[in-house]
């Protein structure tokens, strides 16, 4: 498969996965472009051990996990160094990947509902969010999810259940509030 074909088939998938993982378009585009750059570079070495989409998802998830870790480190050091890294008043300057940005589907009829779901997703742990996204949006099997995230199948199963239970609680609260 040529690079062009790969990009045509998988750029949207990668972008949407990045969108649900990061929760905002700016970070999603940055993450998706990073993942696609890595994928294009590694494409000649792809041996076809898995579906190309699974391979692209794995690259995207790995890039996102690395980014989450790096962001956590930056947050830590910005907290430690206080005004040296952040503002003089110690205000946090590291971008929060869970920031509650404007609803993704504001122009759609189901905007409110989608926004609530997206907000609830962002309240999950990083790994739990990735599991839910890969399972519900990308319809990946437990094995595939476990392989992408470095987790066992049993762990994926139990964490997926836990994430769903938490989502139910969050969505119920949102519905009650509205």
């Amino acid at each position: 498969m040529s690079e062009q074909e790969f990009l045509q088939q998988h750029a949207v998938l990668v972008y949407n996965l990045a969108l649900r993982l990061t929760g905002n378009r700016a970070d999603a585009e940055d993450l998706a472009q990073d993942a696609l750059l890595r994928a294009v570079r590694a494409l000649p070495g792809f041996r076809g051990d898995s579906l190309l989409s699974t391979w692209a998802y794995r690259i995207t998830v790995n890039a996102w996990k690395n980014r989450v870790r790096a962001e956590k480190r930056r947050k830590f050091w910005s907290t430690v160094t206080l005004g040296l890294v952040s503002g003089a008043d110690g205000e946090e300057t590291v971008h929060d990947i869970k920031a509650d940005e404007p609803a993704l589907d504001a122009r759609l009829e189901t905007a409110e509902r989608s926004a609530s779901v997206q907000k609830a997703l962002l309240q999950l742990d990083d790994d739990d969010r990735a599991i839910v996204v890969l399972r519900e949006l990308e319809e990946r099997s437990y094995d595939e999810i476990g392989e992408m995230l470095g987790l066992g199948q049993g762990t994926v199963k139990s964490r997926l259940f836990r994430a769903r239970a938490k989502l139910k609680t969050l969505l119920t609260k949102t519905a009650a509030a509205s």
Binding site: Y15, R20, A32, S114, V132, K157
Partner: protein
């Protein structure tokens, strides 16, 4: 409903249950409205997420992507401080530096315990009498419990002092001429010695040999601290220098190795005389004896022995000059270091060194009886303790002396 059941429900909607578990759960679902309600809740959650709309790529996404490719932009670095490839190297270097720092701190200081000869020099304050060093040299062979029994010194008339191994016993070969002959002819005693004052003016000048004060003055003032901060080479060179000086002094004093078995006063730490004179007077040291000593020949100890031995009346007395001598210290550090070197138990007693010095009497079971400042000397009298006699080792071995340039005479008043 247990969490295990809920987890089974979650896997059920994903078709991730084994066939037998799926059938079992379906039978339970058919029988339980609660289970069916929980299943519907999970499905609703799943649908809510799945219903999130798929978004198209933002306008210009591919243009920006191709622009990044064209610029050759690398994917954003995921590291903050160091690239992953550099981490092992930096980690190893950091570990090495930390290990080196720890090692340099925990490394035992070499040669912290100085050779007794050096300890005497180190311990000696700037105004310390040179004779201290001489005296210490006399007893250096007796320092330490391991070698105490086999160590002795011998005063002889011979002028030459043969080369001897550093750790061998020492022999003090006395002054020349008639004094030595007279000493040889005298009766054996357990030993004789004298600690001389700082002025070096005392009779029997060889101990306070002219070269010694000059050498001492030329040497830098060393403390235990400065010695431990010396490099290995500096310390070694310094040790050799001190040893050579000490050897010279000993040679000048006529000290040599006493063959095993010939040591006088075997079983004690006392210095021995090859042919010690008869026991001189001691209970009440006679000033005339001291004066006579000062007027005598070149070697102080020999002169003392000769003078005392020449007095028949004194020979009948119970005491005698103690050849073991002692160490005169002018500060607590010197006392403490020599206390350890001599293998004395416990901690050395504390004294006000601003008002006086301290004499350490080395024999293990001795008691200081008196310290008497005289007109020309300071006399310290001690005796051997009885087997059943209680003793405070620290106090009995140490006594303060007034700071004085006078000759310090140490007498052993132990019954023979």
């Amino acid at each position: 409903m247990t969490d295990e059941t809920r987890e089974e429900l979650s896997a059920y909607i994903d078709n991730a249950l084994p066939e037998n578990e799926r059938r079992d759960l379906e039978s339970r679902l058919a029988a339980s409205a609660e289970l069916r309600g929980a299943l519907e809740d999970l499905r609703a959650v799943s649908r809510a997420v799945r219903d999130l709309p798929k978004e198209p790529l933002p306008p210009g996404f591919m243009v920006r992507f191709q622009a990044r490719r064209a610029r050759g932009d690398a994917p954003r670095a995921d590291w903050v401080f160091l690239p992953p490839a550099a981490r092992p190297v930096v980690g190893a270097l950091s570990f090495g530096v930390i290990a080196l720092m720890i090692w340099s701190r925990v490394q035992p200081a070499q040669e912290q315990f100085l050779h007794p000869d050096e300890a005497a020099r180190v311990a000696a304050p700037g105004n310390a009498p040179v004779s201290q060093l001489d005296l210490h040299g006399m007893i250096s062979g007796t320092a330490g419990p391991a070698s105490s029994d086999a160590k002795s010194l011998e005063i002889a008339g011979a002028a030459q002092a043969p080369e001897r191994p550093r750790d061998k016993d020492a022999v003090l070969e006395g002054g020349a001429g008639a004094a030595a002959d007279e000493m040889k002819a005298s009766a054996k005693i357990s030993g004789v010695s004298a600690v001389r004052g700082a002025n070096g003016r005392a009779a029997g000048a060889p101990i306070a040999a002219p070269a010694a004060p000059a050498a001492a003055a030329a040497e830098p003032q060393l403390t235990d601290r400065t010695r431990t901060t010396m490099s290995e080479e500096e310390r070694s060179a310094r040790n050799e220098q001190l040893f050579a000086q000490l050897e010279g002094q000993k040679k000048e004093m006529g000290m040599r190795v006493l063959p095993k078995g010939e040591e006088a006063g075997a079983g004690t730490n006392f210095l021995g005389l090859r042919e010690p004179p008869a026991a001189p007077a001691i209970r009440a040291p006679v000033p005339s004896l001291l004066k006579a000593k000062k007027k005598s020949g070149a070697l102080a100890d020999t002169a003392s022995v000769n003078s005392l031995a020449a007095k028949p009346a004194a020979a009948s007395a119970a005491g005698r000059l103690a050849p073991d001598a002692g160490l005169v210290f002018g500060d607590a550090g010197s006392l403490a270091s020599s206390w350890v070197l001599l293998g004395l138990p416990g901690d050395p007693p504390s004294f006000d060194f601003s008002n006086g010095r301290v004499v350490v009497i080395k024999p293990s079971s001795t008691k200081i009886l008196s310290v008497t400042p005289g007109a020309d000397s300071v006399q310290v009298v001690f005796r051997t303790l009885e087997p059943d006699e209680a003793s405070d080792p620290a106090k009995d071995r140490v006594a303060p002396l007034p700071s004085s340039p006078k000759t310090v005479l140490i007498y052993d008043a132990s019954p023979r």
